[in-house]
């Protein structure tokens, strides 16, 4: 069985158009989260990471007419384009496209803009696939906030099933009135930029972003490359909108992943957490990590940089994890002040250079879903 790797990648976010710009912004402790006043659901405005439509249209007009595509389609296309531009000799007939999204073009709902079928996730995916002339029918993973990492697992499993020989995984979600009003109806939006795992955390901040990564075998002689080892999902079987108080599903996914791959918690060099900064989520994660023996493992949440980008979040975090491993660099968990969870965690408080080899990425979401994934640096 051939192994699959996280190959070329791209992140399009308020922090930059391309992974390098994003990494530079994180290095400088920049945050995408700014104060905005454009939602009727927030009298005093709200903090979120929004991508300037002018910049999107400027970039997009280099490739096609921006009027013909929705905001999210443009972001996905720009992101995938960057991946293709970095990948020599990708065979379009042998490459799958897996799209990760929760709400797709939901901002079109009730607007009458574009044809009415554009609201379907499969239609959006089809338009993106057709833009690049991909032969395979696109596959959409829509599994709440674990979608981005679950799409990487899906790519790996479908390559193993020989459905295609490699796959582009692309994720995207917007900060729409639909999603803003929904999170606000749960009283889950933080009045300040979100502060994951902190004792002064007050809820989530939302962000929009697209990201893409090529998954497949790697025959290059590159010095270091990041291998997908395995991923496991587990449901909490507890509540559809609240996480389990015992962290059952998340613990189970991590525990199974370790057992299947003969890994001890002490071997994990870096843990990329979900860390949405809601009270319950962060408390649940801390309990699950404690049960899995990960108290001393350096851990961060990237939500302080990006906000919660929903279907993109676990994909962006996997891409940043890849670069952390390649650069031997731990990035600070932005906006963390003092611990606000019941179990000891080793939150990364400042950027740090450290030799890294094995990383654990986790994600959790509505519907009680949880995922744990292992990524490993292969040295030649």
């Amino acid at each position: 069985m051939s192994r699959n790797y996280l190959l070329s990648d791209s992140i399009i976010s308020p922090l930059g158009f391309g992974t390098l710009e994003n990494l530079k912004a994180i290095q400088n402790f920049d945050s995408a989260l700014k104060h905005h006043n454009n939602s009727k659901f927030f009298k005093n405005g709200y903090y979120a990471g929004l991508i300037d439509i002018e910049r999107i249209n400027d970039e997009f007009s280099k490739h096609a007419d921006p009027v013909k595509y929705t905001k999210l389609e443009k972001l996905l296309i720009l992101s995938i384009k960057q991946v293709f531009d970095q990948s020599n000799s990708v065979d379009l007939n042998a490459t799958g496209l897996i799209i990760s999204t929760t709400k797709g073009n939901i901002d079109l709902l009730g607007t009458g803009e574009f044809s009415s079928d554009r609201i379907y996730l499969w239609k959006m995916a089809k338009i993106v696939a057709e833009f690049f002339g991909l032969k395979h029918k696109p596959i959409i993973v829509s599994n709440a906030c674990i979608s981005g990492a679950l799409a990487i697992k899906t790519a790996n499993d479908l390559i193993e099933a020989r459905r295609f020989s490699n796959a582009i995984v692309a994720g995207g979600d917007l900060v729409s009135e639909f999603v803003l009003s929904g999170f606000q109806s749960f009283q889950a939006i933080s009045p300040k930029p979100c502060r994951p795992f902190s004792n002064d955390r007050e809820g989530v901040s939302l962000g929009e972003a697209a990201a893409a990564v090529l998954i497949g075998p790697d025959f290059s002689k590159d010095q270091g490359k990041i291998q997908y080892i395995d991923a496991v999902t587990a449901n909490d079987a507890n509540h559809i909108s609240g996480p389990s108080r015992t962290g059952e599903g998340l613990f189970k996914s991590i525990n199974r992943l370790f057992e299947r791959n003969n890994i001890e918690s002490s071997q994990i060099d870096y843990l990329s957490a979900h860390g949405t900064a809601t009270n319950y989520n962060d408390a649940m994660e801390a309990i699950a990590f404690d049960r899995a023996g990960l108290n001393n493992t350096p851990v961060n949440s990237l939500k302080g940089y990006y906000g919660h980008t929903l279907g993109t979040s676990a994909l962006i975090e996997s891409i940043i994890t890849k670069h952390s491993l390649l650069k031997d660099k731990l990035y600070a968990s932005l906006n963390f002040t003092a611990s606000g969870v019941s179990k000891d965690l080793n939150i990364i408080q400042d950027h740090e250079n450290r030799e890294l080899s094995l990383a654990l990425k986790t994600a959790s979401g509505f519907g009680g879903c949880n995922l744990a994934m292992l990524l490993k640096k292969e040295r030649i």
């Binding site: 829509s142 099933a161 109806s185 519907g367």
Partner: protein, 201 residues
């Protein structure tokens, strides 16, 4: 190295009728509103699960389909769930959007993700197993086959429940089946299409 798998049960809910393994087990008057049709199935099956009444229609279809498919009893708690549809949660998205003008409804918003159905089924049967929700334009048997084979081959599951549960604009199409390592008809694209497509008449 392709492993042999079997389809051991199937359920279809279509055109006001419910079929199990090809046999008609419930029929309501045609053109009944969906909520009444769903309640009719619930009563007919003699189910007692108050959470049913809080679910959105998409989740109700998934929940009812699984109860009928498994005789309301899933013994293997590692049974994985692979579900898909075409319209995601759009039916509930539209209902939620209508509340946005006045008071956005949190109880509707929570159902604006299609995988909530997997949460409902997992809670009902206490499954802490592998879950995925996929979206495709039309029923895609090969996608279910490829993804479930992966779970069996990687020994992540010994049983899988698959579901195509679609609902939009009052049109519904529900097809569920159970896969095991042996004991039924061959799990391949042709057999799956035969089970999905017949008129049953």
């Amino acid at each position: 190295m392709s492993i042999e798998l079997s389809i051991i049960n199937s359920v279809t809910i279509r055109d006001s009728k419910v079929y199990k393994n090809g046999q008609l087990i419930f029929k309501s008057e045609p053109d009944l509103v969906i909520s009444k049709f769903l309640k009719g199935i619930y009563r007919d099956q003699n189910l007692k699960y108050p959470k049913f009444f809080k679910m959105d229609s998409l989740s109700k279809f998934g929940y009812l389909g699984v109860e009928i498919l498994t005789n309301a009893n899933i013994q293997d708690k590692e049974t994985a769930l692979i579900f898909a549809n075409s319209a995601s949660s759009l039916e509930t998205d539209e209902a939620y959007a209508r509340t946005m003008a006045e008071f956005p409804s949190p109880s509707l918003f929570v159902y604006t993700l299609p995988n909530i159905m997997l949460g409902e089924i997992s809670i009902r049967h206490q499954l802490r197993s592998e879950n995925i929700f996929l979206v495709s334009e039309a029923f895609d048997p090969a996608l279910f086959i490829d993804y479930s084979r992966g779970l069996f081959q990687q020994e992540k599951a010994d049983k899988v429940l698959c579901g195509w549960v679609n609902l939009h604009n009052n049109e519904y199409d529900v097809f569920l089946w159970e896969i095991a390592r042996s004991g039924g008809i061959d799990f391949n694209e042709e057999e799956l299409k035969k089970l999905y497509l017949p008129t049953h008449e």
